[in-house]
């Protein structure tokens, strides 16, 4: 294994994944090899059904491959149980969803604080980190607002703050700009790039948006479950 691979935040080797739809077996990934370096923004592009979301699910440890190896920070994660995978997600990963997936009954502050709370971070440290993160995404004045009082771009900023507040090694972002207008999408992408580099987090971003992918560090195109 090369040095680059051992330093990769995420590595996938010969990963296969199929889905069953009734009697039909649908191949979603066919021998994917992939590595993502620390602080890198990797864009996954491809048409619907090409396997982008499947890669994100596997990288985010919310799904398991049929075969192949997945390594997080050099450690294999295939054999981990559900609790260990959950704890890994809690401690080392952030998620940004297309439709933001903020908790509507929580304030902006509470949404960003939540990952630290479940990780058992002490209240004083939580306060400092959440405040700093909200300042970084420019939402310090909206800390007491509920998500439904924010615009789409602001909600996605909250989601980015929530993903980065625990200083993850890897952020999984599924179509993060698909629900945003082009101007807001540019701002959100710039924010992800800036915050990702500042926090040292790698981003794996699935997107249809060519303007977004062109501004990532690396772009991988998927077609029929294979990387081109």
């Amino acid at each position: 294994m090369s040095t680059a691979k051992t330093q990769a935040v995420l590595a996938m080797h010969e990963v296969h994944k199929t889905y069953r739809l009734g009697a039909h077996v649908i191949p979603a990934l066919q021998g994917v090899d992939l590595s993502v370096q620390r602080g890198e923004l990797l864009a996954l592009t491809g048409p619907s059904g090409s396997g982008k979301s499947t890669i994100l699910n596997l990288a985010g440890l919310i799904d398991t491959p049929d075969s192949g190896d997945i390594l997080l920070d050099g450690q294999p994660v295939n054999g981990l149980g559900e609790v260990q995978r959950t704890l890994l997600r809690r401690d080392a990963m952030g998620f940004v969803f297309q439709s933001f997936n903020l908790v509507p009954v929580m304030t902006v502050y509470e949404n960003v604080e939540y990952p630290l709370f479940i990780a058992g971070v002490p209240p004083a440290e939580r306060r400092d980190r959440v405040t700093a993160q909200l300042q970084a995404v420019g939402l310090q004045d909206h800390a007491r607002h509920r998500p439904d009082a924010l615009s789409g771009g602001q909600r996605q900023r909250v989601a980015i703050a929530r993903a980065l507040v625990k200083r993850p090694k890897l952020v999984i972002a599924d179509e993060p700009t698909a629900s945003l207008d082009s101007h807001t999408a540019d701002q959100v992408l710039e924010l992800m790039r800036e915050r990702g580099h500042a926090e040292g987090a790698a981003f794996v971003i699935a997107t249809h948006d060519s303007r977004l992918s062109s501004r990532c560090d690396r772009v991988l195109a998927l077609c029929d479950g294979s990387l081109s």
């Binding site: 919310i62 969803f97 997936n101 908790v103 009954v105 479940i118």
Partner: protein, 405 residues
């Protein structure tokens, strides 16, 4: 417990306020229903227990055969010369009074008509001062201990049957302890009602001396022991039984067949009622939680993706059920408390129960233990029900939960 989970649970219950309000209202009404029904049953038990203890004494002493075998002749199993025994019993610091009683039966006649009677010989002065106003006097005055001639008090239906009133002369007829027939002229001192029409048709009160003269004996049927406090019944029973090994000492409960029947009946009725109400409340909370969880499946998937353990989600969803059930139970308890206090302040009479001629006040006992047990049961049941309905969703694959629409 970290209060953030509780805060999150409270916030979640406020998402759909109308649904939560309906759920809390039903839990409140259910809890109030259980507490009011339970309080009414407790008041009934306490009233019947006090009436039973007041009627015959907290403890009743007699020869063993008095309680187990039928008599062939009157007072066959009665107690002889109870003076020494009364003195010994009265020496006990817990004993407030000892009252002898003679139970007999026979006929009572006005010269034209004879009617079957049930007689009770008592010590009038002590009986009425110890027991208080346990009879409703319709006419005349209660028996006195210093009557110059034999006197009786009649149940009102019996007096009506014999066309008797205070001052009327009647004749008692009964078998003596030797088996002979004896008659005794008596004067009616008062007419009373026990509140039980069947008793009022037959019951005759007289003093011990008159009863003994009629029955031709110095015996009494039993001694009723009145204690300072109801709670002293069982310890005193053990103490008196040890001091009088040749006698049987029964408690008021042993003698109170009506009390036991009512308690058994009410326990079943109100137990079933409580169970039904409890099941309804649990179903309502379960239904509300099921809807809330289905609506939030995607959010649960998000929280799982962020690293929340299923056990943590289960806990917060159980807390959510606890908030709904707990708030409902607290409101219900407050409602029950208000109704109970109101009924003490503004008495409302219940209609006479079957077999009785007078009603009774509708009071609801406020029992802290019952309140605590009901609130705890509501909270635990709603928590358990919520956790049960949440268990599948929080354990479903994160991918499936996130894809839920």
């Amino acid at each position: 417990m970290n209060f953030m989970w509780l805060k999150f649970a409270v916030q979640n219950t406020l998402r759909n306020r109308r649904r939560s309000l309906v759920t809390v209202s039903i839990a409140a009404l259910g809890t109030a229903g259980i507490l009011l029904a339970g309080g009414f049953a407790l008041y009934t038990y306490q009233s019947l227990a006090e009436a039973a203890a007041r009627d015959g004494g907290h403890l009743v002493l007699g020869k063993p055969d008095q309680f187990t075998r039928d008599e062939e002749t009157p007072l066959q199993h009665g107690l002889d010369d109870v003076t020494a025994l009364r003195a010994q019993l009265l020496a006990d610091p817990q004993v407030r009074s000892v009252l002898p009683k003679i139970e007999f039966s026979g006929l009572i006649s006005n010269g034209d008509k004879s009617v079957v009677m049930m007689g009770l010989g008592v010590e009038p002065d002590a009986e009425f001062s110890v027991k208080g106003p346990f009879l409703t006097l319709k006419a005349g005055q209660v028996l006195g201990g210093d009557a110059k001639q034999p006197e009786v008090m009649l149940g009102d239906a019996l007096a009506r049957n014999l066309k008797a009133s205070p001052g009327s002369s009647l004749t008692l007829l009964a078998s003596t302890a030797d088996g002979a027939l004896n008659a005794l002229d008596v004067q009616v001192k008062a007419v009373f009602s026990t509140g039980v029409p069947e008793m009022d048709k037959r019951l005759v009160y007289t003093d011990i001396a008159t009863a003994q003269r009629l029955l031709g004996t110095q015996k009494v049927s039993s001694l009723g022991v009145f204690l300072s406090r109801m709670e002293q019944t069982l310890p005193s029973q053990a103490r008196l039984a040890a001091a009088n090994p040749k006698l049987t000492v029964q408690t008021w409960e042993d003698q109170a067949f009506f009390y036991k029947s009512v308690r058994d009946l009410y326990n079943r009725i109100f137990g079933a009622l409580g169970l039904i109400i409890g099941v309804i409340v649990v179903f309502v909370v379960t239904n509300a939680m099921s809807m809330a969880i289905i609506e939030r499946t995607r959010e649960i998937g998000t929280l799982r993706a962020l690293g929340t353990l299923p056990a943590q989600l289960l806990r917060t969803l159980a807390l959510e059920g606890m908030v709904l059930g707990g708030v409902g139970a607290l409101v219900g308890a407050a409602l029950s408390l208000a109704v109970s206090v109101f009924l003490y302040a503004v008495p409302i009479d219940m209609p006479p129960p079957p077999g009785r001629s007078v009603g009774y006040p509708l009071h609801i006992t406020i029992d802290p233990l019952m309140y605590l047990a009901t609130l705890s049961a509501m909270v635990l049941l709603t928590m358990a029900a919520s956790a049960w309905v949440a268990r599948r969703t929080v354990n479903m694959p994160v991918v499936d939960a996130l894809a839920h629409t």
